[in-house]
Symmetry: C2
Subunit: 141 residues, 2 copies
C-alpha cells in the first residue's frame, strides 16, 4: 500500500500538509532529512505549514512505516522514505555525505541473537562512519 493508503486505512485524514511532507521525501530520494529540512522544503509548496505540524507528520508517518528514522550521530533526528528495501547508511564524517549500504544480513543477525538469548528482535539500527571516496581523493591531492 502507498503512503496515501496507509494514512487513510488507519483512520487518519490525508491533509495537504501530510501530502506536502510525503512529496518532499519523494522528491529527495536517498537523502535523509531532519524536521527543519522538511519544513523548509515543504514551505515551498505550502508557505504556511507550521514546524510543529511537520514534527507531527513525521511521527505519524514513522508509525505507519511510510518513513524511517536514520541515525547519523547528529543532534536532530533524520528521516527517509521507506522504499521497502532493507538498508543502512555509510556516513562520511568529513563532508557529512550519506550513501546507501545494502549489504546487511538481518536474518543471520537475528538468528544469532535468538540463539544466544531470549531477546525477541523487532528491528535494528546500523550506521557506518568513515570517509567517502571524494573526501579521500581530495585529502591526497
Amino acid at each position: 500500500m502507498d503512503a496515501h493508503g496507509r494514512v487513510k486505512s488507519h483512520g487518519y485524514r490525508m491533509t495537504r500538509q501530510r501530502r506536502a511532507v510525503i512529496e518532499v521525501f519523494a522528491e529527495h530520494p536517498g537523502r535523509p532529512l531532519n524536521p527543519a529540512d522538511v519544513h523548509l522544503l515543504a514551505s515551498e509548496k505550502m508557505p504556511d505549514i507550521g514546524l510543529a505540524t511537520v514534527y507531527r507528520a513525521l511521527e505519524l508517518l514513522c508509525e505507519l512505516d511510510v518513513v524511517r528514522r536514520v541515525h547519523l550521530h547528529e543532534e536532530a533526528q533524520h528521516y527517509e522514505l521507506n522504499t521497502g528495501e532493507h538498508r543502512h547508511h555509510l556516513v562520511c564524517v568529513s563532508c557529512r555525505g550519506v550513501f546507501p549500504y545494502r549489504g546487511c544480513d538481518l536474518e543471520e543477525l537475528e538468528e544469532r541473537v535468538r540463539g544466544e538469548s531470549d531477546f525477541q528482535v523487532i528491528s535494528h539500527c546500523l550506521s557506518i562512519f568513515g570517509y567517502c571516496g571524494e573526501c579521500l581523493a581530495s585529502a591526497k591531492a
Copy 2:
C-alpha cells in the same frame, strides 16, 4: 593505558570532577548513562559538580576513547565505559532495559563495504531493538 593515563598523556589535567565521572561509569558497568544520570550520580561524590562540567567531561572522555557513545533511539545521548571489547546492545522497547551483545563481525562487515565501494570505514554503530525475556514472560502471564 587507563583513563587517568589517557587524560594526562594528552596534556589534560586530572581534576576531581573528571575522576568522579570516570568512577561513576566504573561503578555502573554495562549500564549506558546519559549526562543527567552521570550528573546525579557524580553529585553524590561531589555535591557541587556542574552539569556543564559533566557535558565537557563526557566530550573529552569520548575523544580519548575512555567512554563511548551508545545509540538507544532516545532524546539524550548515552555513554558507557570503553572496556576495549567490541560490542553493541539489545534494547528492550518495553522496559528500556539494555543488554550487551557481542556477536558482531566488524571485520567481515568492513571488508564487504571495502569491496563494494571506495568508502573507508572508521567505525559503526549497531543497536538491536526488541523485547527482553522478562518483558516477554510478563506479557504471556
